[in-house]
Symmetry: C2
Subunit: 360 residues, 2 copies
């Protein structure tokens, strides 16, 4: 993606077309206007982009490939919007495979009647985020559904990245004795969204943590560190991510509660709302599971790369243990325990549903 300037005002005449019409998804002149005047100036600078499919020349054939749809509500929130999220969310999934994110696809599902200005704001945000994350948007698609069959707009992005490291970065590589590093404080994204949605009034001070994580991962790899597993903390939060890893690795995980960074605003909001911050969604935090011998070096890099306020920066939050002797029926429970400051412990279970719908 070349960071070329593109129009700062909406290139579709808003007096004539103030809203998205069904025809904007119809494959005819209206759709081509949208593509020609809005999407191509924003994204179409990459030579690989073509009509049916982008043609990519990668250095080799070791790739990571991922997808996510984004249905977050509201579309714009403190610290981000659905457009930036659609870029960073998919970039982060590639980063968690240790891949260098290179190319994104972009699929819009627009609701008839969406203000054209809203679409334009989202397109600008996608363009800015793609430049920041160093990815090119090389192929796309636009569909329009009737009023009442969508919710403004939904986005799908898929991502392709190249894998240039020798590691198997997966829960199966996790070993007893490994340590768990967390890249920053948790819960900001979920609480920022909920505050805004429910009008709780503290939205001015709390912003989503939405951010690309690929730079931090590339820094860990560039330092030659042996990465066993990486996982970004999205839906379901820290507790769900660790449960998934523990189950896949057939190992237990023990966390030190006092070491888990949570800022005061999130802590306070969670108390008011009756939420457990360990289950609240994030969009710019990840855990790295590494051999104990590499923990200090990795932590130093994370603390430098993912700066938050001093009391909320990257921490070593726990360690991996041999599997607990549970029978088969309880294998989905009790794999992750949280050790409190006073010495007691509780199990961190999988949640059944979600604390907050449409968080991403």
């Amino acid at each position: 993606m070349t960071a070329q300037p593109f129009p700062t005002t909406c290139p579709i005449p808003l007096q004539q077309y103030p809203h998205v019409l069904m025809a904007h998804g119809g494959g005819g002149r209206f759709m081509h206007q949208l593509i020609e005047h809005m999407f191509l100036p924003a994204f179409g600078t990459h030579p690989a982009g073509q009509h049916d499919a982008a043609r990519l020349d990668l250095p080799h054939g070791r790739l990571a490939f991922t997808t996510d749809s984004y249905v977050v509500s509201p579309l714009f929130f403190a610290g981000g919007d659905i457009g930036a999220m659609a870029v960073y969310g998919t970039v982060n999934d590639l980063a968690m495979a240790g891949a260098k994110p290179l190319y994104l696809s972009l699929g819009f599902i627009l609701e008839e009647g969406l203000p054209m200005e809203t679409l334009w704001r989202v397109v600008q945000s996608i363009q800015t985020a793609a430049v920041r994350a160093g990815v090119a948007i090389v192929t796309g698609d636009t569909k329009v559904v009737e009023r009442g069959k969508g919710d403004g707009l939904y986005i799908n992005t898929a991502g392709v990245g190249s894998i240039d490291h020798p590691w198997q970065i997966t829960p199966k590589s996790v070993q007893a004795g490994d340590v768990i590093l967390l890249s920053g404080d948790i819960g900001r994204h979920g609480i920022a969204i909920m505050a805004q949605r429910e009008g709780l009034g503290f939205e001015t001070t709390l912003e989503s943590d939405l951010a690309p994580l690929s730079e931090a991962v590339q820094a860990l790899l560039a330092a030659g560190l042996e990465l066993h597993c990486l996982r970004d903390l999205t839906r379901g939060g820290l507790a769900t991510a660790l449960n998934e890893i523990a189950i896949a690795a057939h190992l237990a995980i023990e966390l030190d509660e006092p070491r888990i960074p949570i800022c005061e605003a999130v802590q306070g909001a969670c108390e008011i709302l009756g939420l457990d911050p360990l289950y609240v969604a994030n969009e710019g935090r990840f855990i790295a599971i590494v051999p104990e011998s590499q923990a200090d070096a990795a932590l130093e890099i994370l603390q430098a790369m993912c700066p938050t306020s001093p009391d909320c920066s990257a921490q070593q939050i726990g360690r991996v243990k041999p599997p607990t002797s549970l029978d088969n029926f309880s294998v989905l429970q009790g794999m992750v325990t949280l050790r409190h400051a006073i010495g007691s412990a509780r199990m961190l279970d999988y949640i059944s549903g979600e604390q907050l719908p449409r968080i991403c």
Copy 2:
């Protein structure tokens, strides 16, 4: 994708969970049940599939990459459904780049309250289509939106394919003198959908042409034929596809109307409905633009690979001409002309919107 048998009845207990709940998109236990019991048995057989991103080892780094969202209504129609369409549509976009389709991503946006049985039918259809098209579904995502914020289900697929041919298959490679081949009769998909949606009563005899096109393209490439441009005829139909190519190539296109195969049922329905079949959507037809010297060989392959009824099979339907001497203001019009049997001609313009919304 290994064609392994997977459950023939819905693996989610329907008495307990007859409908999709918001929690099925929440990242917790409900979502993991759906993934574990329904999606992984259907798609999860490929070793590349992993949590955040699939790891792919391709023979080299020359790739095609594409995406499409599918919002077709109704979800099930004569000759296909949204699931098969989500596979073949994206496979066909890869094929039009001359790529061999290899891997798909799969993103669901489900509406709360969708019958679980409906999701299961779609999943089965996707699995069958993926096996038929020879692609593996290696990564996916599931979101659920509230009742009234969707329309049952929307699907996005992105696709990765490998490019193993030396050609630049793009409108820019088209030259005056090239001939235009059409792989079969047109209009079946659009008319089948409209018939079913409007209850026109002839839906029993007319089925969508929905089909994967990659085998036909691979056969053309295997024969060593020089392919200048390929284009599948989806939204906007044959006329829109040719307009796009003519504009991109800065050349004119002349079609022989009597040579364009249209079956009687489509012709009759178009007359009743006041539609022009040249603008009606297809999901299993494409045009190949080749040098005149290769036309006969290519046509023979297409007629063998894309069998329809004898009067509706692949045809040479026209040729590429030097650009007409139009001024700049009319450059978007009059590039494609249709020569009638009686010798008269008309211009085939870009349509403004679409004849039929949510056709794909």
